[in-house]
Chain length 404, copies 2
């Protein structure tokens, strides 16, 4: 894996339209007060497409639409609005999602079945469809592609995007990703939208398989507040414009593609956690020597989702008792008496008992923006990670004072 | 049930030692800075006893001790300290719990096997056993019984206690309960301690059965922050000093006893939720017309535990989209399109679609301290409730700035 990863180069300049044959735009069309709120991604040719969606039983109209649209494994465009989730909006909501899809298709002169729709913002308010339709007419194929990442933001404070390049079959291939979402993030991708474009040439079946597997260790391992959204969507478009042999079987090229995909999804997931609503810190929990990687991931996610752990980290308090309590409360069987815990490399618990640490070093360690919580179960060979943010006054403020 | 409940009278003055043959005391012995931190309950005779404990795999030393102690269904005393949880304290922690038990037994001149031990406070710090031993010698059998409820408090802002009276076999019977715990409260009784005394004459088997069933609809239906403690304990002592025929089978008397128990446990559970760390509001979620009461309770608890619902209620924001999203994220299958939701009796969602409501009435409704969230699944005959609190700046402050 190390060899593979060394061959993947991150570009200084991220752009969702960087892969060959992709275009994007983002505009302000009046769904939000001032900032950009509508954007699209367009490929010159139909692209192999894959998607994963929220597991919430309450699914927004665009999610239901996309699940049907993506069934044949092809997309040529994605139209996205922020400011309104078009969720729990009844029958009219589905009609609005279909109008968005058809209007974008007409503008781009492609079939509606090749257009995915995504919405993010407040739940339960009727989408102002006139503004959206009018707005779609303001989008350009060769527009401001970097504006797309801004157009999909809600309470995000920074855009999250990445572009990487690598080689497949001696051809340069490019992959870009953008994501949004900082509240309502949890287990099964709550209010996060992620869009990934690439010029890699791959079958839609393998693309879906790679994506479905990948999210288990990337997007599904971040949690901000334990709430799961109605709108979570990750879509990948691979338009095959790079001139290498098509990937149609599990091969070395497929493995390399998966490594590229994981580079993009993990970078976006960590960026999402780092920009959690009100966050002052990024918490990275690593569980080592577990009996299985899924067990390790479950424990890591339980710890990173604990309100008491999150507030302790905000308070720069090395209150590891809350960490071991969260481990014990997970659904994975553990033996507390053989567990070790370290905070930013300073051991605080060994074999289930407290150990003394230098207070001054600890204070300095917890001043960092990035906090590594390392848990050694001493009970196997597997490991897993999860990422989250601290719980702060600002989180409460954002979610108490603003209807999001 | 209505008839039964009408025969249960709550006394204006709550006292854990109100049932015949019970005594209690509470003192400050130096585990906390100033406030009372050690107390006991004592019965003149050995009492039938039942207990339920945390399901966290990391269990404090006193929890492990009590589980062994209570196996034969008898207790005569309970010794409790606050300020230190004696959890994750290694081998020495178990020794300390045993020393607490033996010292209390010696002071009371009873067998150590009749003494339960409970501790609450910070995790992972060695219990200052000398102070505890010295403190136990300061406790009196006929001490300040009302001080007991204070001696077990941590971040609680008010004591939680109740005394009720009723009749069994034409005899007056009394039952009292005290509880503590306002953070780290969740599913399976996280950092809550609850102690119930009664002079009812009942077998320990039926007492345990009644308690185990009851907590499913009372203490286990409150959540403050989703964290599950290492120390949760509820103990009931029934010393049989009321002069009625012993309850040894499932009978009308047993049903009446269960109604009394439920009155006490529910009152304490709601008091705990109402005093959640930093809480400004009590949230009571009722799920009606579900297919089973356990399904109803699961959904109610998911909603009351949602950080986004909790912050919305703090912000007096009728953001019911977060409520339906939480319902959909629960593990219970629901049909969102037939669900109705009301906030303090004002309908906000009907058949899965938004309905307009009077803004002024809603503002007034959400100004209340008590918020009723009523969810009608329109899909069965069962119902269930859960209670919690809002998520506030103060919660973050308490848990970020103080090591608890």
């Amino acid at each position: 894996m190390t060899d593979t990863l060394q061959k993947i180069k991150q570009l200084a300049d991220a752009d969702i339209a960087a892969p060959l044959g992709f275009h994007a735009d983002g505009q302000h069309v009046g769904l939000k007060h001032k900032s950009k709120d509508l954007g699209w991604i367009y490929s010159d040719v139909p692209a192999a497409a894959a998607g994963v969606f929220t597991t919430n039983q309450v699914q927004a109209a665009p999610v239901k639409l996309d699940k049907a649209t993506i069934k044949d494994g092809q997309l040529q465009a994605i139209i996205v609005n922020s400011g309104n989730a078009n969720a729990v909006t009844g029958k009219i909501g589905y009609e609005h999602a279909a109008v968005m899809q058809q209007t974008a298709a007409d503008s781009l002169n492609i079939d509606a079945n090749l257009v995915a729709v995504a919405s993010t913002g407040i739940i339960g308010q009727i989408l102002p469809i006139d503004k959206v339709v009018h707005g779609i007419h303001q989008l350009h194929i060769s527009g401001d592609s970097k504006a797309f990442a801004h157009a999909i933001m809600t309470t995000d404070t920074v855009e999250k995007s990445i572009t990487i390049q690598s080689q497949i079959g001696n051809q340069t291939v490019t992959m870009s990703g953008v994501a949004k979402g900082s509240g309502m993030l949890h287990p099964n991708m709550a209010t996060m939208l992620g869009f990934i474009t690439t010029d890699v040439n791959i079958s839609s079946e393998l693309l879906q398989q790679a994506l479905s597997e990948d999210v288990e260790t990337s997007f599904n391992q971040i949690t901000i507040d334990g709430d799961t959204s109605t709108n979570d969507t990750v879509l990948v478009m691979a338009n095959g414009q790079a001139n290498h042999q098509k990937i149609i079987t599990a091969s070395a090229d497929y493995d390399h593609f998966k490594a590229m995909l994981h580079t993009v999804t993990t970078a976006l997931a960590i960026a999402l956690a780092s920009d959690g609503e009100g966050a002052t810190k990024l918490l990275a929990v690593t569980v080592a020597h577990a009996q299985s990687s899924s067990a390790a991931r479950m424990i890591a996610k339980k710890v990173v989702g604990s309100s008491l752990v999150k507030t302790a980290m905000f308070g720069k308090d090395p209150n590891w008792g809350r960490i071991i309590a969260a481990i014990g409360a997970s659904d994975v069987a553990v033996d507390p008496d053989i567990i070790d815990i370290a905070l930013n490399n300073i051991p605080v618990m060994q074999s289930g008992a407290p150990i003394t640490f230098d207070q001054e070093s600890m204070v300095a360690a917890l001043e960092q923006k990035n906090i590594a919580i390392d848990i050694n179960l001493n009970n196997g060979e597997a490991s897993g990670q999860a990422w989250g943010s601290d719980l702060t006054y600002e989180y409460v403020k954002i979610n108490a004072l603003y209807t999001t």
